[in-house]
């Protein structure tokens, strides 16, 4: 019983972190799916989302507003607006001018953008860790008084439910809406979609905006969950999310979700049963193994040569 509780606790830890990896991974995978480039500045967009949310929360606190739902909604909206405009601007400034050139050029442009944004936040906000207030406190507990007690914090539940809602809305949006259909068309064949009257530039911008908005949601959630933000915060998370996207099959949205969850659970199980020191080793070995046997990732479709 004790062992089962311990296992479930580690599973929940892993699923929580995994679902936020998935939220960030969507941004990588959508952009890749549509224009075939890796947006390395995406981790920074997520970090900026967390900072914006923190600034909004602090601002509301100084105004004396203490009603939790209002704080959360305002922080979320601010984060989404700022991150999305940032995502849009990054695409306009750094990617659109070099689109269609050799593959390496947009990649380098993306890395440059990532370094620029990181340093911009360094300068604007300082390099220290800034504490994030714990807005959602408390937890459910399971197990007897003696021995191991499993606890699921309200924050973990919030993260889980929010991710679920975001994913569902996104899937519906992609499969049912006009823009979603256009997105799928553009990802299949950009040139043809253009010929058929789809404004591909607008669709590509929309992709960046959607990815950035989801990253902003993840930024707010993780900021609150962990309790601090710093300018390098996006880099590691971005790397992990990118791994998740590749693991699940880059270009595939369900793949990003699956990849994120697998990566999160693998990490928490490794630190739970082996040692925290091997966490990244196991996560990346898993990635290599999967790519060895299934180069397109778990749910990725093999690329068909277009003639």
């Amino acid at each position: 019983m004790q062992d089962l509780l311990y296992f479930s606790q580690q599973l929940i830890n892993g699923l929580t972190i995994g679902s936020t990896y998935a939220l960030i991974a969507i941004g990588y995978t959508m952009v890749y799916g549509i224009i075939g480039m890796i947006n390395f500045a995406h981790g920074e967009i997520y970090m900026i989302g967390a900072y914006t949310a923190l600034i909004a929360i602090t601002g509301l606190a100084t105004l004396g507003i203490a009603w939790l739902p209002l704080i959360l909604i305002v922080a979320l909206l601010c984060a989404i607006i700022v991150s999305s405009s940032m995502g849009w601007a990054v695409e306009r400034v750094a990617y659109r001018p070099v689109r269609g050139r050799h593959r390496l050029i947009p990649l380098i442009s993306a890395i440059g953008m990532s370094i620029f944004l990181q340093n911009y936040v360094h300068l604007a906000q300082g390099s220290r860790n800034i504490g994030f207030p714990a807005l959602i406190d408390g937890s459910f507990r399971f197990g007897s008084g003696e021995g191991f007690q499993m606890s699921i914090s309200y924050m973990q539940i919030t993260i889980f439910i929010t991710t679920l809602i975001c994913m569902t809305v996104l899937s519906l949006f992609i499969s049912r809406s006009r823009i979603g259909r256009a997105c799928r068309a553009v990802s299949q064949d950009l040139g043809m979609a253009n010929l058929l009257g789809i404004d591909t530039n607008r669709i590509i911008s929309a992709t960046f905006v959607i990815g950035a908005a989801l990253a902003a949601v993840a930024g707010l959630l993780l900021g609150m969950y962990y309790g601090s933000v710093d300018p390098l915060f996006g880099f590691i998370a971005g790397l992990k999310a990118f791994t998740a996207a590749v693991l699940g099959g880059i270009g595939s949205i369900p793949g990003a979700m699956l990849g994120g969850l697998i990566l999160g659970v693998a990490e928490s199980m490794t630190s739970g049963y082996l040692s925290g020191e091997y966490k990244d080793v196991v996560a990346f070995s898993l990635l290599i193994l999967i790519l060895l046997f299934k180069p397109t990732g778990l749910l990725g479709k093999p690329e068909v040569e277009k003639i």
Partner: protein, 370 residues
């Protein structure tokens, strides 16, 4: 055209000569190297403020052998690669003395360069024992060693009679070194060390670690490393209902841990150098810091002050600006500084340095624990 080139050349020549003359007008350049940016910039601030104050006060008193001290501040971000870059820059600046670096992992590679270039270095903050074990002639420190701090922490934990202890570290030179010293002290005393594990510095998610600590049912957790990670561990441990007592080295003892951990920082135990700023004889100095709006409660403010002062005193005693002579004088003499009477051993470490266990509070204050 020709004449104008000639004129220009003369002008350049003259200004170079002037600049050279300006330098010859007696100043002693001291490099101050530490993190101004990056996750541990908080400690760099302490170091820079202490060193600046010392330079200011020594200059006001007429300088050293009639020459003024000039501080040249550089930022190593507490990154070993950056430390080497700034060390080379100081060499190019013609610096003969360095106060720094702060992080042990930066001090180590930088000290290789200083030793080769004949530059005397005093670190006010690096506590890794290995640094002074390499037989360097020009390397000193005004702080204790992990091998002194570890046993203080270890013995304190033993005195609390814990059943099981977890020792966590951040896999860096400083953190792992001190955690190992604590673990060994505990094992020698027969305490059950249930966990000895590393985390990755810069990580944010410690939920698995916290669950593991809870499962191991330890009543004491020692963390070797810096405040950004311990702050998060404390906070996540509190959310995960872990009731163990936490303890850390001086790398966690600053007010930034309160902004990260919030209320979870209450009751954290920290080994720190004794509060030099509470000593009778330092009250003048503390008032001078306060007049500039600076805080002296950080562990490295007065150790940096002492480092600059020791360089000045060493030059006076040696009667020479040659770093090798100064090093000899420093090894030979005893010096009165704000951190007490300093006497160096052959390795360049202080003969004795005390660490005290403090209890940390939510508002960033601390009280000594007996």
């Amino acid at each position: 055209m020709k004449t104008s080139v000639k004129k220009l050349a003369t002008a350049v020549g003259a200004s170079v000569a002037l600049m050279a003359a300006g330098q010859a007008a007696a100043e002693i350049r001291i490099g101050i190297a530490g993190p101004m940016t990056g996750p541990v910039a908080q400690y760099g601030d302490m170091q820079f403020s202490g060193a600046r104050m010392a330079i200011e006060r020594i200059n006001a008193d007429g300088g050293v052998m009639g020459e003024q001290l000039v501080g040249i501040e550089v930022d190593d971000v507490c990154d070993p690669k950056q430390a080497v870059t700034v060390a080379n820059r100081l060499v190019n600046e013609g610096v003969q003395y360095v106060v720094g670096h702060l992080c042990s992992s930066s001090t180590q590679p930088a000290s290789d360069i200083y030793e080769d270039e004949g530059i005397l270095m005093i670190t006010p903050a690096s506590t890794s024992p290995e640094i002074t074990q390499r037989g360097y002639e020009l390397l000193f420190r005004t702080i204790g060693l992990d091998s002194m701090q570890g046993p203080v922490a270890g013995n304190f934990i033993v005195s609390q009679n814990p059943n099981r202890v977890a020792v966590i570290h951040d896999k860096q030179q400083y953190g792992e070194g001190i955690a190992t010293a604590v673990r060994d002290t505990l094992r020698d005393a027969g305490v059950d060390v249930a966990m000895f594990e590393g985390i990755t510095a810069g990580d944010k998610d410690f939920s698995s670690l916290v669950t593991k600590i809870k499962q191991a049912n330890v009543d004491f957790v020692y963390y070797g490393g810096y405040h950004p990670e311990l702050g998060l561990i404390l906070r996540q441990a509190r959310q995960g209902d872990v009731s163990s007592k936490f303890m850390g080295p001086e790398g966690v003892g600053n007010k930034d841990i309160n902004t990260i951990a919030g209320e979870a920082a209450e009751g954290l135990l920290v080994t720190l150098p004794p509060s030099f700023d509470e000593k009778e004889e330092n009250q003048d100095l503390v008032a001078a810091f306060a007049a500039k709006g600076e805080d002296t409660s950080g562990p490295f403010v007065l150790t940096s002050y002492a480092a600059v002062q020791l360089i000045a005193d060493g030059i006076e005693q040696a009667g020479s600006k040659d770093p090798f002579e100064v090093a000899k004088a420093l090894r030979a003499g005893t010096f009165e500084t704000p951190i007490g009477t300093v006497q160096f051993d052959q390795a360049g470490d202080m003969e004795s340095f005390e660490f005290v266990v403090y209890e940390w509070h939510t508002d960033g204050s601390k009280t000594p624990v007996n």
